[in-house]
Symmetry: C2
Subunit: 206 residues, 2 copies
Amino acid sequence: MNREDDCSSPIVTNDLPLTKEMILDAAEQVLRRFGPDKTSVVDIAKVLQVSHGTLYRHFASKSSLREAVTERWLHQCIAEPLEAVVGEAGGSASERLRLWLETLINAKRTYSIEDPEMFMMYAAVTLDAIEMITTHVNRLIRQIARIIDQGIQSGEFKSGPSEVIAKAIFIATSRFHHPAHAKEWMAEAVDVEFETVWNLILSGIA
Amino acid sequence: MNREDDCSSPIVTNDLPLTKEMILDAAEQVLRRFGPDKTSVVDIAKVLQVSHGTLYRHFASKSSLREAVTERWLHQCIAEPLEAVVGEAGGSASERLRLWLETLINAKRTYSIEDPEMFMMYAAVTLDAIEMITTHVNRLIRQIARIIDQGIQSGEFKSGPSEVIAKAIFIATSRFHHPAHAKEWMAEAVDVEFETVWNLILSGIA
């Protein structure tokens, strides 16, 4: 899904029944415009032309709205494009694994520069919404595990517990995709550093 | 060096010539007591019973004082105990590498809990004092490289560029020692997660 599509949805009005997607679209717009600290549920209700009481029936608090907006973003803008990489035909498992990691790393780096409001919200939510983030991370780890399984089946990778190996690979590359390291991604050396970690991982699994 | 020794040095007075160590002792005490935001150079000068002009002749700003205090702490409380691990006699290189990593990780985890003021200052300085932190990290990477060299010489590890491999190992374990991840160290799963990353690293180098 194109990020521009998500971020420029037209303002919805109270002529339509209020769906979760409509609330999240409005919340995302308002959170982007004013930032998480200055946004109130009342602001979001105004954009939707509903009372804040109506909004509270769908989301219990501003933080649950913020979490739901981040969850949708992680799903559409991070997990779905990576799912496509796992499902691609052709190429070796190590090529696919490298492409998967580069897709994740490039997406994070690009969003941190080009969509700083959403990225900062995501970085903040990462510290608080442990359960939602764990679910997202586990989904990504299962994607890596499927690539590992492909490599074990083709004889390219050593046999082993694919989910455990996948988790180790995800954690060992944290420096390049965990939002707490975003500042370090600006350093010139970061691509060379990824290369050295990638070589270490590949010697470990091949 | 015992941490308690560093943190409870007696208040120095102007009867003695002002040394860098005396300034750092006083700065560390005041920074601990009031926190980096509320501490001023004047507060530190008061403890030392000197004018703030005298202090500015040694350190140009509060941030350079804060950086110097952190640098000393990193040297004494992190790098030196690790140096001792590298120099230890006996045991295999993989045992020594594991002990080195565990010593680093345990030190960071212990300080984050038992010395939160210094740890928070260090986490903040990490984002700003890039050059000082890079020097510290490079020192740690050279320590790992010496262990890798020991392992290559004994035939325990594959041949390879030890500094590059050492850097990859340091980065791949960031999740367990980089201060940006301190909150995640409280999770129950963190030891199991380290074990999976350690196994991946060891398959890569052994």
